[in-house]
Point group: C2
Chain length 121, copies 2
């Protein structure tokens, strides 16, 4: 066995070809990275998705696939949609706080202008 | 062919068994829903993921898988991780706006208290 096989070929117990589609993105020292995408998408689907992309976008695609796969392993019901819900809740809370603060500023400004007007009376 | 086959069995050109794992979540009138998850995860992986979940969580799991699959079809590089980045940017913007507004309110309140103090001089 070639000790320089990428993590994907090691996992799939196969020879790592020179033009291996996985090898640039799955170094042998991080076996968990491939195990995770393999468990969720399957090696064939990951390979197909990467082959349909231009080379310069593949690294980013692998990172996002690995992120989504890890989310799905951690939360098999909601995956990273759970994170999207959390973030939307956080936006709603921050927007509410902003609206409240903007209302407070309006009240303060009204009071200020009333006080200033009363100075001229 | 049984016209009541679920969308998944129709897509896979197979008989729809009574205990079909897909049938409660992939009605025959929405073929696109299954086509999308099949394209990204493969039928076998979806079936495996559903079978590992208790019945009462499967509908939610199917919805989140379909959402993620649709995101990946629409954006093959970033999938729904692209949405997470957008939401994080939106949170940052709202938090900045909130901090700015809170600073403005502090200025208004200082001005107000200065004006009120000068009234008593």
């Amino acid at each position: 066995m070639n000790p320089k096989r990428c993590a994907a070929c090691k996992y799939l117990r196969r020879r790592c070809p020179k033009d291996c589609v996985f090898s640039p993105y799955f170094p042998p020292d991080d076996p968990q990275k491939f195990a995770c995408v393999h468990r969720i998408y399957g090696a064939g689907n990951v390979s197909k998705m990467l082959q349909q992309l231009p080379d310069q976008t593949r690294a980013e695609a692998v990172e996002s696939l690995c992120f989504e796969a890890k989310c799905r392993v951690d939360d098999p019901v909601y995956g990273c949609v759970g994170i999207i819900h959390l973030l939307k809740t956080q936006i709603q809370k921050t927007q509410n706080e902003l609206a409240k603060t903007q209302a407070e500023i309006a009240v303060s400004q009204t009071k200020l202008s009333q006080t200033q007007n009363s100075d001229f009376m």
